[in-house]
């Protein structure tokens, strides 16, 4: 029997949700097992890094890499798996765009360490110890991977063949990709997004969409939305309009506004900028006749004041992959 192609799933800075999405293939996971030798997955298997290092280059058929690049170890593993894999696929929003972890890019490394290790009310750290790549102890020098200044995406540290977006990617979409690879189907050009559409979530959302004119924003807890009407038209900040489709729009169908986990649609670099562009078109400008420029500006500001965190809302999943990428280092 010829040897089965090797499949690896690695997690860098991630939560483990992508592994859950893979396990959610349910009985189809047996088909994955039949088609591949599932040989590396720190979440589920006991293969070690040295086992990967011992493999010849390009001997892993597919590596599904989830998680962002937060530490030097993440980058080292990304480069190692790139070398050992024929196809390196970014699985999930963290690897594609940086995801929730990427919101850390709105703060400096020093601010993060201060919040986590010094100011955190549940931390008891009288010596004020913060992680350092090397620390001296009586027994010698202890080393841990360096914590980078910024969260990076997988594509920012190594070449990536394909991207499967989502937080986490819908299981049926992971299956679609696995099936396409197993069947030997012609894959799209390298760098493409797999397991998702090219349009926006609105295209898949079954809510009724009419003329959009938002007179004010509501936060999720403030209203119970009407069940059939577009959430954005009801004033909820639904990111569907600036988010790639492919998920099947489960959130808006369940009365929950889309938060944007599938990243920007095809052809868009910056999801947040896209959302600003879209909202600019549908905020209700009202009657401006006879209003001064200052009055118009004040009315816009009053309308915008009801949302406390624009960057956090518009870039919840895509900050490291966006044009500016986070807080500017000054």
């Amino acid at each position: 029997m010829p040897e089965k192609p090797k499949l690896a799933i690695y997690w860098a800075a991630s939560c483990g949700g992508c592994e859950i999405a893979v396990v959610n293939l349910h009985e189809k996971i047996l088909d994955v097992d039949a088609a591949f030798e599932f040989m590396f997955c720190p979440c589920l298997l006991d293969t070690k890094k040295k086992d990967i290092e011992a493999l010849p280059d390009k001997s892993i058929a597919i590596t599904l890499f989830n998680g962002a690049i937060r530490t030097a170890e993440n980058e080292e593993m990304a480069r190692l798996l790139r070398k050992k894999s024929q196809l390196l696929i970014a699985l999930g929003s963290c690897a594609c765009e940086g995801c929730i972890l990427g919101l850390a890019n709105l703060h400096s490394k020093q601010e993060i360490f201060k919040a986590v290790y010094l100011d955190n009310p549940t931390i008891d750290n009288p010596a004020g110890t913060i992680p350092s790549p090397a620390s001296e102890v009586p027994e010698g020098t202890l080393t841990i991977p360096a914590f980078y200044d910024k969260v990076k995406t997988l594509g920012q540290v190594t070449a990536v063949d394909y991207f499967i977006p989502g937080c986490p990617p819908e299981s049926h979409q992971i299956w679609n990709v696995v099936e396409a690879v197993v069947s030997g189907a012609q894959l799209p050009p390298a760098g493409s997004v797999l397991g998702a559409g090219c349009l926006s979530v609105c295209d898949e959302c079954e809510r009724v969409k009419e003329d959009k004119k938002i007179a004010r924003f509501y936060r999720n807890f403030e209203i119970t939305p009407e069940p059939r009407k577009c959430l954005l038209e009801q004033g909820l900040l639904c990111m569907g309009i600036a988010t790639r489709d492919g998920c099947g729009a489960p959130c808006p169908q369940a009365n929950m506004p889309c938060t944007g986990c599938y990243g920007p649609p095809e052809g868009i670099t910056d999801q947040g900028a896209r959302m600003i562009a879209a909202l600019g078109s549908i905020l209700d400008i009202g009657d401006c006749k006879g209003k001064s420029e200052e009055e118009i500006a004040a009315r816009v500001e009053a309308l915008l004041d009801s949302v406390p965190d624009y960057a956090g809302t518009f870039y919840k999943y895509s900050l490291p992959g966006s044009i500016i990428g986070g807080r500017v280092k000054r």
Partner: protein, 151 residues
């Protein structure tokens, strides 16, 4: 001898060239660009720091354009639109005003001062206002200093 050599040989080494910001200006075709033309044809002097990009309407300005300008080295961005009620496309200028207000909030969270991205109204006849707005903008950005986004 080239000008550079002459400069290098200047004994007054403590004379530092004043920071000259690079500013990208998005001007609407119908009002503000004509306003800039008016300033030019009336030969009013104003700082040369703004590189103008003419757009059909400020409503066409995708916030991605502004972010890209900052990311590629602009120290400031200025968007000039028709006055409210004067938009050739009815309300493109007001759409731009709304986008600008949101964009400023996001830029400030990213550590880019709101003053680096200015929105204002200049009509086709307001050559003087154009000069005033550009002069103010250049002074503001000069004071804020260079914006370097490159790691």
């Amino acid at each position: 001898m080239s000008a550079t050599c002459l400069l290098n040989n200047t004994p007054d080494a403590d004379i530092v060239a004043e920071f000259e910001p690079r500013i990208i200006g998005f001007l609407c075709n119908w009002c503000s660009y004509a306003g800039a033309d008016k300033a030019g044809s009336s030969q009013t002097p104003y700082p040369p720091n703004v590189s103008i990009i003419k757009v059909m309407c400020t409503g066409r300005i995708d916030p991605q354009f502004v972010m890209k300008a900052f990311n590629e080295g602009a120290d400031g961005v200025i968007v000039l639109a028709c006055h409210p009620g004067d938009c050739h496309y009815k309300e493109g200028n007001l759409r731009a005003a709304q986008r600008h207000a949101m964009l400023i909030r996001v830029l400030e969270q990213m550590g880019i001062e709101g003053k680096r991205c200015r929105f204002d109204y200049v009509s086709a006849g307001e050559g003087e206002k154009y000069v005033q707005v550009i002069t103010e903008m250049v002074a503001t950005v000069k004071q804020l200093g260079k914006l370097s986004l490159i790691d």
